[in-house]
Amino acid sequence: MKQYLIISILLVGSHLTVAQTISGQAFAEQTVMGFQKGYGLRYQTSKGLGIGVLFQSNGKLSMETADGNYPFYGIETILPITSCNNMRFFISPKIGFVNQDFLVLIPQVETEIKVTNSLSVGITTGLRARQSSAGGKVILHL
């Protein structure tokens, strides 16, 4: 119920704001801990500056807490570097908790390619536990 309420508020909020975007994203990422899938919500200004919340985990997209799934709950900040035509580049570090208790910082850069007004795709590269990670995402602008 709470999730529906939050999503409803975000949807309504996105229509009330001007030149700001709320986006939902689904992504997959190859990390040193294995292949992870995740989803999240982000809020961005017209200049691309933003913040988001996200969840990612190995295996099924569930709230499993098994250590081996390395579930990550956290926030991301989105800092624009540059843009050109339908492409935008961001620094998008993530900070949050892995396996409930373990605070981690994940440096990441992201390239977003706008496909339509409401749909973008992105590629990410980052560092997880001092090893490179890479992923792709689909971003739906609400």
């Binding site: 540059t82 050109c84 536990a129």
Partner: protein
């Protein structure tokens, strides 16, 4: 071509190159190559490495080679414990609360020790011995009230945990020579962390 366009193309190329590099190095889960840690002659370590622990169990494989044989300048320092791998406990500095596996070359063999700080008190316990040029499995498991140190082929060693914090930063601690003295020559340790 404007400067901004050049910058844009440079960033685009770098991003694509980094992505391709990362994607082509993805077959690493459970088969991660060993990482070389060199303790340089005349130093304790090679510098700071920033990494945080990601679960309550730290598992890794390590290989010591012939460079692990050393003689300290002061005889008593031969008993000092060098550090292999471990972590600081939740939101603690490592001299407050931490758990590491340590090692030393003594009496012609390479000894492995549990090395922990519990509320500022240093606790060291013998775990076992390992052969040179052989890969061995190590593990430090953190429970609510203990650190448990494992070395394959030996009984686990348990040290009571003093920190009751759960959620926070647990920073990892990497190979370090000493003790009081610095490495008498380059020492190579190969480590692979298992996730």
């Amino acid at each position: 071509m404007t400067t901004s366009y050049r910058i844009f193309h440079l960033i685009l190329k770098l991003t694509i190159a980094a992505t391709l590099f990362a994607l082509t190095s993805c077959e690493r889960e459970y088969n991660e190559p060993y990482e070389n840690f060199t303790l340089p002659e005349g130093k304790h370590d090679k510098g700071i490495k920033a990494q945080s622990l990601q679960s309550s169990t730290l598992r890794f494989e390590a290989i010591f080679d012939q460079s692990a044989i050393y003689q300290t300048q002061i005889v008593e320092n031969q008993h000092d414990i060098n550090k292999l791998l471990g972590f600081s406990d939740c939101n603690s500095f490592h001299h407050g609360n931490s758990a590491r596996l340590g090692w030393r070359w003594l009496d012609g063999q390479l000894e492995i020790h549990a090395y922990a700080y519990v509320n500022g008190e240093r606790i060291i316990e013998f775990v076992g011995t390992v052969a040179l040029d052989m890969s061995n499995s190590y593990q430090i498991k953190m429970t609510d009230d203990a650190y448990i140190f494992y070395l394959e082929g030996f009984d686990p060693v348990e040290i009571k945990r003093g920190n009751h914090c759960d959620k926070g930063l647990y920073y990892m601690l990497f190979p370090y020579f000493g003790g009081d003295e610095v490495a008498p020559h380059d020492i190579l340790i190969q480590i692979r962390i298992d996730y």
